[in-house]
Every structure is written in structure tokens, then in C-alpha cells.
Chain length 204, copies 2
């Protein structure tokens, strides 16, 4: 087994990838650790060290060839494919996520969405019909979906999480403002705007 890479390094790779894709979109084909570092606010030494965990992707004297580095990072992060994602909770946030156009070129697509409200079940959101959360376990398992975005109210978040885990989901992007408990084999990332704002006001 390969020596495991620190989480903190893994967490920076998507930021590098996003910046590289943007440069690529702008027609730029090579960059240096220096230049990339300035764009993302990270030191050049750190970027070189992070990348060197996974291979030798650059050339002395000329830096990194962007299309090649993008391919490598996509493979490392496993977004050299398209992951189906399930969205649970069709409030305003769930709606916005299902209709969001920005996932597809970054490795993800919404595959199905759920709610528990009888008035919402059967309604159309973007290209999807809202399904009954009662069918969540069955539908997720049958479709083999491994990634979920959780947009339900805080009080329902843990019970839905348990159902997702039981159905084979391996990662959850949690929009509910509450910590979730999951087995070690499941990865959770949190999005809570109020926490983001409180991390700002401390410094004002």
C-alpha cells in the first residue's frame, strides 16, 4: 500500500485544478509553480511539494504543461469520469443545486432528487421529477449512486444520512447546518454559509 497522502494536501488539489482549468479556458498552455501560486494564494514551494506526492509533472526550466497537469489531477481526484449525484431536499437550496450548470465539466451530474413533502413529490425541477424520499434507499442502491448532496432541514439530516450510508453512498456534501456522524468509510464535506460568515466577522 502506498504511503497515504495527508488530507490537507488532497484538499488543495481541487483548487489547483480549478485554476488550471480556468487558465486553459483562457488559452494558456504552460504555467509555473510561482504563477499558479499567485493565482490561488499558496506558496510556490508548497505547490511543488504537493504535486510531487503524486509524480513528476513538470519540467525544469519550463514549468508545467497545463493540459497534462489537468489530466493528472483529474485522474488523482477521480474526476476523469462523471459521477452521478443524488440531491435530497428540494427547498430553495436543493432547487438551485439541481439546476446548477457548473458541475458537468468538473466531474459530476445530478442523477435524481428527493423530497418528503407530498406537494413536491412528482413535481418537475429542471430535467428531474422529484421522487418520494421513502424510495431513497431502494433507488440509490439500484442506481449505484455513491455521492449525495444533502439539503434537508437540520433536524432530518442525520436520519437521511443513515439511510444514504446504508444504501452504499460513500460521500456526502452536507448543506444542513449540523455535524453528521458517519462510519469512517464515508467522507463528509460541509457547506454552511453562516459558518463562513462567522469566520469573516471575527477579523472585522
Amino acid at each position: 500500500m502506498t504511503e497515504s497522502v495527508p488530507d490537507i494536501i488532497v484538499s488543495r488539489l481541487p483548487v489547483y485544478l480549478r485554476a488550471l482549468q480556468r487558465m486553459s479556458d483562457n488559452g494558456i498552455t504552460t504555467t509555473s509553480s510561482q504563477e499558479l501560486g499567485e493565482k490561488v494564494g499558496i506558496s510556490a514551494a508548497q505547490i511543488r511539494k504537493d504535486l510531487s506526492q503524486f509524480g513528476e509533472f513538470g519540467k525544469q526550466g519550463t514549468g508545467y504543461y497545463i493540459p497534462f497537469l489537468i489530466d493528472k489531477l483529474r485522474a488523482i481526484l477521480k474526476v476523469d469520469r462523471i459521477w452521478d449525484v443524488v440531491v435530497i431536499g428540494m427547498g430553495d437550496m436543493g432547487h438551485a443545486i439541481v439546476r446548477y450548470q457548473g458541475f458537468s465539466n468538473r466531474g459530476f451530474q445530478v442523477a435524481m432528487c428527493f423530497d418528503s413533502d407530498p406537494d413536491k413529490i412528482g413535481q418537475q425541477v429542471g430535467n428531474f421529477t422529484i421522487r418520494d424520499v421513502k424510495d431513497l434507499a431502494k433507488d440509490v442502491r439500484e442506481a449505484g449512486v455513491k455521492v449525495a448532496m444533502l439539503c434537508v432541514p437540520a433536524r432530518f439530516a442525520q436520519e437521511v444520512t443513515d439511510k444514504l450510508v446504508e444504501s452504499g453512498v460513500r460521500g456526502i456534501l452536507n448543506y444542513a447546518p449540523v455535524s453528521l456522524s458517519v462510519p469512517e468509510s464515508v467522507k463528509v464535506q460541509h457547506i454552511d454559509p453562516a459558518i463562513g460568515l462567522q469566520r469573516i466577522t471575527y477579523y472585522i
Copy 2:
């Protein structure tokens, strides 16, 4: 000047506060570093060390009195008041944010919202009328708003950011999938669901 507190400690305080408020809502009045740590997934020693940066908030033998600790954390994070927030970009995400009910008891309220689309300007979203982004600088400065949530497409994010900074905004919660460059005096936090998802798929 007080010895400055590491960013990483500050970043954990809102997580503690959220868990404590939840416990308080459930009628619990005291907790220990052990119990709080289990809820948020952080070691008891670290919680005690983090809190001790700001004072002695607990009692040996009995732990922490939750209402007292909540008050202290609110004061430290400066959310013992309500901050006006401006939202720029009234797409699906901006809509969801303006209508979100979860800010008010955590220190924030939307004060105004903007878009550049003539079809949207003048429309109603929740209790707000969408304003013309041309008036952004003037309106923000006059109202003295210090915090912004940025929900515009990536290609407009930097120019709007520059306008916000110029108008006295000191913190930006950035939903656009791009790094922003700001003066040191301005704090930025990023929310990018695709980055969250990519931090997950690495481990699957």
C-alpha cells in the same frame, strides 16, 4: 496588542458555537470538552486549548455552562449583533440565499440584493427588490454594509469584488468558482460545491 490567534483556531469556533446552540435548543445546559468534541469530531484537548486562547470559560469537575459559553463565543466572533449583508447576483443561488431563513439567529440578515440583468432589476425576491448593480458602490457605502455574498458568474466575480472592496466591504463569502484577489484587510471565504465533491471522490 494581544498576541494574535491562529486562523485555524478561529475557524473552529463557529463549529463549536453551532453545536452549542443546538444543544441549547435541545434544553441541555452544560457540557464537557469530551462531549462537545464527540459531537463535532474534534479532540477534547484541542477544544480546551482553543477556548483557553480567549479566557477561562469552564469549571473543573463540571465542564462548561452552555449559555455562558455561547455568549462568549458570540462576542469573540462578533455575532453578538446582527450584520447587514449584501447579496450580488440573483440567479438560483442568490435567490436561495436571499430567502434563506437560517441567518438571523446566527448574526446576519440580508439588507439588499443586486443584479445587472434589466429583466431582473426591480423584481421582488423575498422581501427585497432587486437593485441595479450600477448602484452597488453608492448603496453599499451609504448603508455602511461590511459583508457581502457573491453569487455572480465567475467571469464577473473579480470586477464586482473590486467594487465591493472600494465601497468599504470587509468580508466576502464567495460562491463564484474562482479565486479572488483582495487587499489584506479584506477576508474572503469560499463556497464551491464542486470543490467539496472533488475532496470526496479522491477517497472513494
